[in-house]
């Protein structure tokens, strides 16, 4: 969803707003503005940002956008970047086909 100038103004944050249309999570097409709005709406962790915006939930599972989101959260909430915990990592590390994953199990009737 496109941010309107009105929405931006209502967020009342001391950060530059000219790059709010920039896509941060490319898999799920989440903009910087949407992430800042989620933080403004109460998200204090990367997991909460993910659940509100879907950022980091796509094909790459946040491997591309994690550092950008971490930096935005640190900047907006005023904490050091190192204090922002990463996403909970969920297997598989890379996408794997259902066929291959299911073959981990020996053939047997169930």
């Amino acid at each position: 969803m496109k941010e309107t100038n009105k929405d931006k103004a209502s967020c009342d944050l001391d950060v530059a707003q000219d790059d709010w249309d920039q896509i941060v999570c490319r898999c799920e097409e989440v903009t910087k503005g949407e992430i800042i709005k989620a933080i403004n709406d109460g998200a204090t962790t990367i997991e909460e940002i993910k659940r509100k915006t879907r950022a980091g939930m796509g094909l790459c599972q946040s491997k591309t956008c994690f550092r950008a989101i971490q930096r935005i959260l640190a900047e907006v909430s005023g904490q050091p970047v190192a204090a922002v915990l990463p996403y909970t990592s969920r297997p598989p590390v890379r996408p794997i086909s259902i066929g291959i994953l299911s073959s981990l199990m020996e053939e047997e009737d169930d």
């Binding site: 709406d41 109460g42 204090t44 962790t45 997991e47 909460e48 659940r51 509100k52 939930m57 796509g58 094909l59 599972q61 969920r90 297997p91 598989p92 996408p95 794997i96 086909s97 259902i98 066929g99 994953l101 299911s102 073959s103 981990l104 199990m105 169930d110």
Partner: protein, 382 residues
């Protein structure tokens, strides 16, 4: 303004309680030890089930779906509620008679369902294996995004004045000496005086109950799920497909043996969610790759076409299991002001809204929509 009611738990049940109480003008303080929906509400599938028996489940489910239809219109943010229906696949010819009996019973309750021959099912789902014995279409079933629902309920409750207090864990209760009615909840950060407390802590309810000296017989029942990349419509046409043996899996024993039932659902943005398992192994969050493989193998059995689709994420969650598979929606008779709203096992998403509404009716002294003896806490005292 003092708090009237403390809700312990920020999942779909706690958020529903906070929402319906706030609508009655009651001052709510919701406590969540993690983030909103971080337990079973974010870990489950998306199915609003119409057909789970016995009668009390059918009643709760019917009333809850009506609430979902209202919530879909009245909540400020989208919850992805859709009247999708669902399909239960009958795998083997010898299961047909059993399911005809179940089917007839559900029809007599007024459920909209239709028996499908293998040919009819294949017409609906051209990619299904022909090696099936038939199916049932449940027209009353629906789909919803449980996490969005939880967040939307909590957010709208907050707009009505509720305090949504996350990352704050309960460590104790205080009671009035005179009548043993509840007077306050103690957390890691503060003491919150309250006239009433709702324990809506899902699989963690037993531990929370212990803090008040209350035995809530709920145990975690683990399930694992996988989500795929978004897939186009047409690979699977229905949004919710499961095996007709699903209920046997739900009803199987409480030991640690693994029970698996194929359940395939397609989210609004196209991702497939594949499940599911039931296992009593405590709060172990690890996804065992062999258990996951077992689930995927069952799903592949019915839709060989999905073999090439990629899984991007797997995870585990904990259903709040009770010994009789019925929830607890109940006042605590020995502790005035304490209420329990948990134990929905795998259908907390279905029954979340009605649970919040019923607890609100109890606290405000309104007439209940229907009798709740079957889901009382005191049934376990016998």
């Amino acid at each position: 303004m003092a708090t009237d009611v403390v809700v312990i738990g920020g999942g779909i049940v706690g958020a529903s309680c906070a929402y319906y109480l706030s609508k009655e003008g009651i001052k709510v303080h919701l406590l969540e030890k993690g983030s909103l929906g971080c337990g079973a509400s974010k870990a489950g599938m998306m199915h609003v089930v119409s057909w789970e028996e016995p009668e009390i489940h059918l009643k709760l489910a019917k009333a809850s779906k009506k609430l979902y239809q209202e919530l879909n219109l009245e909540l400020s943010s989208p919850i992805e509620f859709r009247q999708t229906g669902s399909i239960a696949i009958i795998e083997k010819p010898e299961q047909v008679e059993t399911f005809k009996a179940t089917f007839d019973r559900l029809r007599s309750w007024g459920l909209n369902c239709k028996f499908l021959t293998p040919r009819e099912l294949i017409e609906m789902e051209p990619n299904i294996t022909p090696d099936i014995a038939g199916g049932v279409f449940f027209g009353d079933d629906a789909q919803v995004n449980p996490l969005y629902t939880t967040l939307a309920l909590a957010s709208d409750a907050r707009k009505m004045g509720a305090i949504i207090d996350t990352f704050n864990e309960v460590i104790g209760f205080e009671f009035n000496n005179a009548d043993h009615s509840v007077s306050a909840v103690l957390t890691k950060r503060d003491r919150i005086p309250a006239g009433a407390v709702i324990i809506a802590s899902g699989a963690w309810s037993h531990a929370v109950g212990n803090l008040a000296g209350l035995n809530i017989p709920v145990e975690p029942r683990k399930g694992v799920l996988a989500v795929t990349v978004p897939v186009p419509e047409g690979i699977i046409n229905s949004q919710i497909i499961l095996t007709a043996g699903y209920m046997e899996s739900v009803n199987s024993g409480s030991n640690s043996s693994l029970s698996v039932a194929a359940n395939i659902q397609r989210a609004v943005n196209g991702n497939l969610v594949l499940g599911t398992t039931r296992q009593m192994v405590g709060f172990d969050r690890e996804v065992d790759p062999y258990v996951m493989a077992n689930v995927l193998k069952r799903c592949l059995r019915f839709f060989p076409v999905i073999a090439e689709i990629s899984v991007i994420r797997t995870w585990a969650g904990f259903r709040p299991y009770t010994p009789d598979l019925l929830p607890i929606i109940s006042p605590v008779e020995s502790m005035e002001g304490v209420y329990v709203a948990t134990g929905h096992e795998g259908i907390g998403i279905t029954e979340g809204p009605i649970t919040g509404k019923l607890i609100t009716q109890m606290i405000t002294g309104q007439d209940l929509e229907f009798p709740l003896d079957d889901v009382s806490l005191k049934r376990f005292e016998k």
